[in-house]
């Protein structure tokens, strides 16, 4: 093993470029690279690839729901395997990996003015373990019995029983092993993101001068480091129950007339562990999106983010609060009913800092100079979908309102709107925003417009009406709705409409992927700072930034990240590394 930690006595930010472990061969430059930017691209590409699999799976589900009985290959087993893999991939292997592994790796060192992550070798390992986790996950499609169909929540006992696809075959085992690997890999990466923010900041980059993107990713990573162990514990214990026959989660069970060997275990225990991870996970995805969208809005409205301090406090507050709301996923799980009072209260309290963030985004637009670029359009669309999804969260968080709505399509619509569509829209906006830095070229505008309109309106048309199907009482996770009295003929037609929209939105993503590839060669030259932004990543000597990010001298930070349209300034933005002219405050 090559020793790669930078010289110990010198803080990593100060290590001169020469001393960095420059790649010496093609392999170490593009494959086993320790450069956070390359790792970021590897993470993003892998996450996108597996995300496309999940997208296709969602098409399969919509085929079945929109046109029941038409497609014979979507058996009940297959349907449950599709929903499970779709959910798990989207939440963990796409969103978490893309926000933290992708954007975190690319943006943290550049934005805080560091040459690289503080432990580059561990960072590289993180990606390869993530890739291994993805491969194990994919391999379950080819295993005997296929992937698990336990639902992404993997609730025991059914997750490891014969009535569930993959329950007594390989599916569930591969799923659990893949998750365990993912968590190990993520912890390695997460250590880097956190410690780089703690230790890697350049001179002058105080915490309150950090862009909100870094705040969002940093807080989300801290949460993930503390929350993922809960999933790890749950996975290991379930693996024991499944493979070795212990009874952590398994009570006495009669399955199809046969008494099973298990006894005495508690399925609720699994749910507590799962949601102790699962709820923070929502914010692990949301907080980076919050941070990024703040920067997009500020840059493209040419105005400082309104209430920066409140935004920072809200991010930290939401992060802390999100650890004491987990049981709002379990109001009807049969846990002690008095927990409902506590968790409904904490859940609705968390709405307040979240609402403050929304107000501040909107107030940033007020008296701004709004450039309707594609990143800005995506940011606006994010606010619409996030507000919509956040408000339906107030239904589900309020314990008694959750009773009729839980486990219905209302829940599906809610979480897709708030942690599916909304963060994905931010990801798109962020890609249109930072692609010029990563490649040196702009993404094609016409394809971008098409992509935006179809994705935004299509996704809204998919998920807004879906709430009402749930309100009618239609449960989620049903592969056929034909024998249901509450399901009217017109609701079936609505389902077909939703399916058609889903295909359309999916198709727009193909256009987007084409744009990503096409623009590498054919996009307009971007220059170093096409959006005229203040943050450090736009001030690098080269675009795309070279290994070591900043050339010989690291930038020194003199101001916060939001000096847009400062009265009396020559330009409508002042980069963070531009010294002030006098002692007087602006």
């Amino acid at each position: 093993m090559v020793d790669v930690t930078p010289a110990d006595a010198v803080p990593p930010a100060e290590v001169a470029e020469m001393e960095l472990y420059h790649p010496h061969s093609w392999w170490t430059k593009y494959v086993f690279s320790q450069d956070a930017k390359v790792i970021a691209i590897q993470y993003s590409a892998t996450a996108t690839a597996i995300g496309m699999v999940a997208l296709v799976l969602s098409w399969m589900m919509r085929l079945q729901l929109g046109f029941p009985g038409t497609f014979d290959f979507i058996t009940p087993e297959a349907y449950y395997q599709f929903i499970t893999m779709h959910g798990m991939i989207m939440v963990i292997y796409l969103l978490t990996a893309l926000f933290l592994g992708g954007f975190g790796n690319y943006l943290i060192p550049l934005m805080v003015g560091a040459r690289d992550m503080v432990f580059p070798y561990v960072n590289m390992l993180s990606y390869w373990i993530y890739l291994l986790a993805v491969l194990v996950l994919v391999s379950s499609f080819f295993a005997p019995g296929g992937p698990t169909g336990a639902g992404w929540t993997l609730y025991p006992p059914q997750a490891i029983m014969t009535g569930t696809p993959g329950g007594q075959d390989w599916g569930i085992m591969l799923m659990l092993v893949s998750l365990i690997l993912f968590i190990i890999g993520f912890t390695m990466g997460g250590l880097n993101y956190v410690v780089t923010v703690l230790q890697g900041r350049t001179r002058g980059m105080t915490l309150m001068r950090m862009p909100l993107t870094v705040w969002g990713i940093f807080t989300a990573t801290v949460m993930a480091l503390l929350a993922f162990p809960a999933l790890f514990v749950a996975c290991v214990m379930m693996l024991f129950d499944r493979a070795l026959g212990t009874s952590f989660f398994m009570p006495a069970i009669v399955e199809m007339g046969e008494q099973l060997q298990h006894g005495g275990g508690s399925p609720i225990l699994f749910q507590h562990l799962f949601w102790f991870f699962g709820h923070p996970e929502v914010y692990i995805v949301a907080l980076p999106a919050f941070g990024i969208v703040s920067d997009l809005i500020s840059t493209h409205a040419r105005k400082n983010i309104f209430g920066y301090r409140m935004m920072v406090w809200a991010i930290v507050g939401i992060g802390a609060l999100s650890f004491i709301v987990w049981a709002h996923h379990m109001y009807v799980s049969g846990m002690h009913p008095y927990f409902g009072f506590f968790f409904a209260t904490t859940t609705l309290i968390i709405a307040i800092p979240t609402a403050i963030k929304v107000y501040n985004w909107v107030l940033t637009l007020w008296r701004g100079d709004i450039h309707l670029t594609i990143p800005m359009l995506f940011a606006l669309a994010f606010i619409v979908t996030f507000v919509n999804g956040g408000l339906t969260g107030l239904f589900l968080g309020n314990v008694v309102v959750d009773v009729p709505l839980s486990d219905t399509m209302f829940v599906v619509a809610h979480f897709h709107m708030v942690m599916g569509v909304a963060p994905i829209l931010v990801i798109f906006g962020a890609i249109y925003h930072w692609y010029p830095k990563v490649t040196g070229r702009m993404l094609n505008e016409a394809m971008g417009q098409f992509h935006f309109w179809v994705t935004f309106l299509g996704a809204y048309l998919i998920f807004f009406p879906m709430h009402y199907i749930g309100l009618m009482g239609v449960p989620r996770r049903y592969n056929e709705l034909t024998d249901m009295t509450v399901m009217t003929e017109s609701a079936h037609n609505l389902n077909s409409f939703i399916s058609i929209m889903a295909f359309l939105v999916g198709f727009a993503q193909v256009v987007f992927l084409f744009n990503l590839i096409w623009s590498i060669r054919h996009g307009r030259e971007a220059g170093g700072n096409p959006w005229r932004a203040t943050t450090l990543e736009w001030q690098t000597a080269e675009t795309p930034p070279a290994h070591g990010n900043f050339g010989k001298e690291l930038p020194i930070v003199y101001r916060w990240a939001y000096d847009y349209s400062v009265p009396g300034a020559k330009e409508d933005f002042i980069p963070q590394n531009m010294p002030g002219s006098s002692r007087e405050p602006a």
Partner: protein
Amino acid sequence: MSVILVFLLVIAGFAGWWLSHQRLMAKPWLEQGVIGDTIGLEGSTLPTAKIGLGVFLAVVGCLFALFTSAYFMRMALSDWQALPLPRVLWFNTGVLVLSSIALQCASVAARRGQIDTVRLGLATAGLTALAFLIGQLVAWRELTADGYLLTANPANSFFYLITGMHGLHILGGLVGLGRTAAGAWNGARPERLRLSVELCAMYWHFLLFVWLAIFALLAGWAASFIEICRQLLT
């Protein structure tokens, strides 16, 4: 879930203490630097590797706190039957304490530049840690021989699961210790060696602490302690 919540409260305390030193109330738009300002480095003066290890240990602590939470929740159910702890665990505890002491000595010696003592300390720590692992295996064998099988009762399952998880962490530590030892014998730079030894010592002390907590948990003292606290409170 109370154990993990208490643990997170401690973490939140650390985070809050740190954040309170970061001038979160400052109005950054009023604080412009001008050229010629002497601007210090941000971040702590502690070596970055130590901070990294500290964060990692927080994650490990979280993991074991969660196992403990699960242990207590499962224990409350009716089929729980505590198992007798093998006596060899006392011996193992002693050995692990020795291991920690040896590393502490190595760390002190590294600070003073006494390379021979460092080598001695590292070797002792490695061997005692190995002895601890073997001792744990002996404990497993004794229990299995006495019929306390993994699946027979959740108390047994937790015993094997938690000690196994702790053993894996020691094993991982041994890899790090091996690399440090290789450095000590092959003439690594003194300041580099010193940092490595200190990191090992930090990790070892933490795992010793975790072991003591686990031991108390598995022996049932932790449960009685909580019971006493609960009675005092009510």
